[in-house]
């Protein structure tokens, strides 16, 4: 397992370099004039242009700029915005909120999604099963912004059950409704995946063996059917955790949450290139790490997979 982990970490290096280069080029290399519109209606003063050009290495070719940026990253320097904020400070403020939101969403996915899937699979062809299938299909068909806006309008504005926006530094309880909205799509997928996987395994030979051994129904379902059925579900949830961290732009927008998604969105709007690059680079790192953890976890869950 140690060697595999090392190999996977080494594989992550070219991926990291390639993705950051693409992001850097997209943001800095494609804009003809980074100072366009930066100083209101007038052109920026030459002294400011000179200062920023020097600070951001804008005089160098993009590839050299990128290398210098990477050098900074290794010392923890994510660069600075035009307005003078350290990008690392912005991230430090926003990341914990995004992380909390992602955790809330994942917990909801796991608890509600897996429970619904198990119930649906065990009840095969019943009212409950149909209800779960239809409601999950409903959630899958809706884009998150629709779900988010409807929830906000109905429960926040009309019924007044929830607050329509969350505080600046929300705790996990205040993030429950946004987490539910963010996790709703994946929750529906988890429910369906669990259901399908359980139904397949229910007919498996080893389940018949477990029954023939005289184990209780409960033991057969939990230890044999569910345990084995969770393999694909765990993979899905693992990779989803990565996308929940960065993919919450819409949900964060709807509920006014100041997380990473909001930071990217704001950066694009205000043409703060350094802010966009910094956050996206962080998300790349998170994706790579989460994927590695999922693969390692998979080997723990399924002994047939050994990476040595």
């Amino acid at each position: 397992m140690g060697r595999y982990t090392l190999r996977r970490l080494l594989q992550a290096i070219p991926v990291f370099l390639g993705t950051t280069l693409m992001i850097y080029y997209l943001v800095w290399g494609l804009s003809s004039d980074p100072f366009a519109g930066k100083c209101g209606q007038r052109a920026c003063p030459q002294s400011y242009v000179d200062l920023m050009t020097k600070r951001l290495n804008l005089g160098d070719p993009v590839i050299v700029q990128w290398l210098k940026y990477l050098g900074g990253l290794f010392t923890g320097d994510f660069g600075r915005t035009f307005s003078g904020n350290e990008v690392s400070d912005l991230i430090a403020n926003a990341a914990p909120i995004s992380f909390r939101l992602a955790v809330v969403a994942v917990v909801i996915e796991i608890v509600i999604g897996i429970t619904a899937g198990v119930v649906s699979a065990l009840r095969g062809r019943s009212f409950v099963d149909s209800l779960i299938l239809i409601s999950t299909l409903f959630l899958i068909s809706l884009p998150v912004f629709v779900t988010g806006l409807v929830v906000k309008q109905v429960f926040g504005v009309e019924l007044g059950w929830i607050r329509t926006s969350v505080p600046t530094d929300p705790d996990v309880f205040q993030l429950f409704v946004p987490g539910l909205v963010l996790g709703s799509l994946s929750m529906a997928f988890v429910a369906r995946l669990t259901r399908t996987s359980m139904m397949e395994n229910t007919r498996a030979d080893f389940v018949r063996t477990a029954v023939a051994k005289g184990l209780s129904r409960r033991r057969v379902v939990v230890a044999h059917i569910l345990r084995t059925s969770l393999l694909p579900v765990v993979t899905f949830i693992g990779t989803d955790l990565g996308s929940l961290m960065g993919g919450a732009v819409v949900t964060e927008g709807v509920f006014n949450i100041r997380g990473l998604g909001g930071l990217v969105f704001q950066g694009i709007q205000r043409q703060e290139e350094a802010q966009v690059v910094g956050v996206v680079v962080l998300l790349v790192i998170i994706y790579l790490l989460v994927n590695l953890v999922v693969d390692l976890l998979y080997a723990v869950l399924d002994p047939r997979i050994r990476y040595d």
Binding site: A204, R208, K213, G214, A223, T228, L301, R304
Partner: protein, 347 residues
């Protein structure tokens, strides 16, 4: 071969099972009145082609038949006199493992891939005997040792995929013996194995049955496998028993054309004949079993009576058979029972 005890351990009589939904009109009659008995310490081999109902009978006995699609429409299964069909499901569960155990054809798929072999054996000690995990693992290792798995103490911590085919089947056998059952049902235990390994597994099963005076139902389609270990043989065709006898008389005087056909389709090493003689045609569809004798479309000796009248399983006068042990369901069984299996009878 062991002495058969007087009281039967298991008594299956007139068992009938259907598959499919009668409302859709696609009903397959899988078992059409199967009866057999197994005594303590006795090995009954159930022979037949795929789809003849061997496994369904066994699953019904174990209480692990999938219902639906299966439906038990009649008959009785008695274990030591206790009626099992319609019994409380919890009672049936407690009998499984404890009184009757089953081993399956493909041990790789019959073992859970995500648990160690030891854990799967230990499970029964933990959840049926209330043992601690640690004690249960010790017992599991003892069982692996009993079925002659070398290095049992280490291998108990390995996963099924780390075992070879033969070792996996041994582990499966160890698992079935955990709660010391009185009846073992082996559903094609050697079909997925190499010939050399097959012999070892059969030998092991035979030995275990003798040591423990355990009754065994050995389900197989392989005549070679049964010869060595079976006390009695029941031949099944289209959900019925068509012939039943002690192993020696069945081999010496097969009385049903189907049994004779099965024997003729097995390669012989003693050079006799040289050419294989497979049974022509295919087993009938169970949703459209032919009227009369279900075997008549494939039988070279079929006459008008066979096409209209279903032959019952009746005792034959076989001088070699013990008592009226030799029974066959053929109108002309007397004609065949006197002839040796190699003799070609002209209709």
């Amino acid at each position: 071969m062991t002495e058969t005890a007087a009281a039967p351990l298991l008594e299956v009589s007139d068992l009938r099972v259907e598959f499919g939904n009668p409302r859709h009109g696609d009903v397959a009659s899988v078992l059409n009145g199967v009866s057999y008995q197994v005594s303590a310490g006795e090995t009954l081999a159930v022979l037949g082609e795929s789809g003849s109902g061997k496994s369904v009978t066994a699953q019904t006995v174990m209480g692990i038949l999938d219902t639906p699609p299966g439906r038990i429409t009649g008959g009785s299964v008695r274990f030591k006199g206790e009626e099992l069909l319609g019994a409380d499901p919890e009672r049936r569960r407690l009998l499984r493992g404890e009184s009757m155990a089953m081993i399956f054809q493909d041990a790789l798929s019959a073992l859970n891939p995500v648990y160690t072999v030891g854990a799967q054996i230990a499970e029964q000690f933990r959840f049926r005997r209330g043992m601690s995990r640690k004690d249960a693992m010790v017992k599991a290792a003892e069982l692996l040792d009993l079925v002659k798995i070398p290095n049992a103490a280490q291998r108990v911590r390995e996963y099924p995929h780390q075992f070879s085919g033969g070792m996996r089947q041994r582990a499966m056998i160890a698992m079935s013996l955990a709660l010391d059952p009185e009846l073992l049902i082996a559903d094609e235990p050697t079909t997925a194995l190499d010939v050399t390994v097959q012999a070892q597994i059969m030998e092991l099963l035979d030995e275990l049955c003798r040591e423990r005076t355990m009754g065994m139902i050995l389900i197989t389609h392989d005549l070679g496998v049964v010869a060595e270990v079976a006390d009695r043989i029941a031949v099944m065709y289209a959900g019925r028993i068509v012939e039943e006898a002690d192993a020696a008389s069945l081999y010496a005087h097969p009385a049903h054309p189907y049994t004779r056909g099965l024997m003729a389709s097995v390669p012989r090493l003693d050079g006799g004949g040289g050419q294989l003689d497979p049974i022509p045609g295919l087993p009938p569809s169970l949703s459209a079993i032919p009227p009369g004798c279900p075997f008549h479309p494939r039988c070279a000796h079929a006459e008008d009576r066979c096409r209209s009248e279903l032959p019952s399983l009746r005792a034959l006068d076989d001088p070699d058979a013990t008592g009226d042990d030799h029974r066959a369901a053929c109108h002309f069984a007397e004609r065949f029972v006197g002839a040796s299996p190699e003799e070609v009878l002209t209709p």
